[in-house]
Amino acid sequence: MQTNITASSYKELEQKSKVTNMLLRWFLYFVLILFASYFIFPLYVMVVTSLKTMEEIRQGTLLTWPSALNFESWAVAWGGRGYGAGDTFLKPYFWNSIKMVIPAVFFSTFIGAITGYVLTKWRFKGDQWIFLFLLFGCFIPFQAILLPMARTLGVLGISNSILGLVVVHTVYGIPFTTLFFRNYYVSIPTELVKAARIDGAGFFKIFFKILLPISAPIIVVTVIWQFTQIWNDFLFGSTFSFGEAAPIQVALNNMVLSSTSVKEYNVDMASAIIAGIPTLIVYVLAGKYFIRGLTSGAVKG
């Protein structure tokens, strides 16, 4: 088809494409705002509800703005009402979770780093089989190992303790942390290790002096991943601990589900937010490394 584009028809076309572009742009914004509100809506309801009194909650709707900033429910969620029996509040369980998450993240990351280092830089016969079995660990549904693990913890004498949870989380973190570190170290030239061996450095010296100092991106990724997994875990926590040794997610569940009296939505919401804050902090502090580190290992590995 032969068309002669004259100056005027050219202008017309230009005008037309301008309009189409504008419409498309508006449509794009509309969709983006729609999805953004869809995601922000639950958080909005939680924050707003946690700041209301029970009176306000009963009278208003979900979306109504609180009449005043009222942090009382937060105080109750964190520290309780101060009377004895049946008063569940988050503070002790929050520290339980901290005591669990810090050593578990540390050990699983460290062991994953060493394992990844060995699997890439000190290859041995059958190492790919070991890696394969470790990968299975990533795909095993955790429900499947609850009973054997409970038995193991019992034999070790650390069931219903923070230490027991640290062990469980460390063990089940290793497949993931190993995968992360292996993929990262694969992209680092093995010649570095050879050079260091000729220079007289040994296994651990090479790891601590040469490889670990350049592992920051992947350490950040692993720490974020492990922290989120362990902090948010409910299954292991509820299975292997109860009462005073429970981590925060279990306590949150107990608080919200087993209250005998009136449902205090404002306290429930405040508790849920408190339980989510630490992961949020970790993401904000280290988030930009997350994507960077995740892709740097993935692309080259």
């Binding site: 570095l192 260091a196 061996r197 220079d199 007289g200």
Partner: protein, 365 residues
């Protein structure tokens, strides 16, 4: 006493034989280049000398001392790698003294060595920089510096110039040559680049499929290749290998492509390594493109009329493809000579420069 001696060395990865009964000796102060196509085992051999790979059979001796089971750090060697392998988290100074620190050298000794080497290699301005802040050439220099600081008996180089661009590669090649002339330390150098091998080595060992094909000076390797593999591998374009056989006519030996009716190239003056039964032996007639002339230069040159089929211009020279009884023959002329394609012209083979190979064993005869 040999600085380095390798005895019946074999190495296999699983069922793949990488090195087969390698024997090699290097005298003090020599520059040995291990040259070969990728996968020939040259890097594995270097890693074995360094102690970074284990040995399946055979032994490695440094100064007559069997080091086959000695740790890399105790072998008195230093190595420069293709990727430079500078420690990314340390600055230049820390990189260079890392080895001495591991060996627990005294502070004075470290300081003295660092000063000597860094001024020698002109990297004293860079001592506080991280490897990522250096250019390719500077990184290479620091990597060499890290090796020099240790004052080793043997330097091992593993394709150290392959990551540099063409211009820098020529510069660094000259620097390595100067370095060797100044220090006179024994060097083992791995490369797949024949120009590098020829210009640097005092000895070249050409390897293929885990076997050393020829180990000799660059001149002998170029002029008297021991097999068709070496003849083909060295030189650009490589040596013409013309299929044919030897015939004997009234005590005169000559080379013919098909039978006695075709052109006979006299080979009576050829220096045979061993005079075996030559009559009607099937051979390759080898002649380098630069030994085919477009005009007669001495009276022993053999004159032949061939048809030019293809011309490749490469600046100072041109490579012309001729047809010789349906076999391609390449000749290298200065680009100032006017060659007409698809026309026959007179060529002159320099018979003092030819090589003959047995067609079956591919060995020089």
């Amino acid at each position: 006493m040999k600085t380095l001696r390798i005895e019946d060395l074999s190495k296999n990865f699983g069922t793949t034989e990488v090195l087969k009964k390698i024997n090699l000796e290097i005298d003090e102060g020599n520059f040995l280049v291990l040259l070969g196509p990728s996968g020939c085992g040259k890097s594995t051999l270097l890693n074995i000398i360094a102690g970074l790979e284990t040995i399946n059979e055979g032994n490695v001796y440094i100064d007559d001392y069997n080091v086959s089971k000695v740790e890399p750090k105790d072998r008195n060697i230093a190595m420069v790698f293709q990727s430079y392998a500078l420690y990314p988290s340390m600055n230049v100074k820390e990189n260079m003294i890392f080895g001495l620190k591991q060996a627990k050298a005294s502070k004075e000794k470290i300081k003295e060595q660092l000063k000597k080497v860094s001024s020698f290699l002109k990297v004293d301005e860079l001592l506080n920089r991280k490897p990522s802040q250096l250019s390719g050439g500077q990184r290479q220099r620091v990597a060499i510096g890290r090796a020099l600081v240790r004052e080793p008996r043997i330097f091992l180089f593993d394709e150290p110039l392959s990551n540099l661009d063409a211009k820098l590669r020529v510069e660094m090649r000259r620097e390595i040559k100067k370095l060797h002339q100044t220090l006179k330390t024994t060097v083992v150098y791995v490369t797949h680049d024949q120009t590098e091998a020829m210009s640097l080595g005092t000895k070249i060992a050409i390897m293929n499929q885990g076997v050393i094909q020829q180990n000799d000076t660059p001149e002998i390797i170029y002029n008297k290749p021991s097999s068709t593999f070496v003849a083909d591998f060295i030189g650009s374009p490589s040596m013409n290998l013309i299929k044919g056989k030897i015939i004997k006519k009234s005590d005169q030996f000559s080379f013919v492509v098909e039978d006695s009716n075709s052109t006979q190239i006299p080979i009576n003056n050829y220096n045979f390594d061993n005079k075996i039964e030559l009559d009607s032996k099937e051979v390759y007639f080898g002649i380098r493109p630069e030994h085919i002339y477009y005009k007669k230069s001495n009276e022993n040159d053999f004159e032949i009329k061939l048809k030019a089929e293809l011309s490749e211009y490469i600046g100072n020279e041109q490579i012309i493809t001729f047809n010789y009884s349906d076999q391609e023959i390449l000749a290298k002329f200065p680009s100032t000579v006017k060659i007409e394609i698809n026309k026959e012209m007179n060529l002159y083979f320099d018979l003092s420069q030819i090589s003959l190979f047995d067609k079956n064993s591919k060995k020089r005869i």
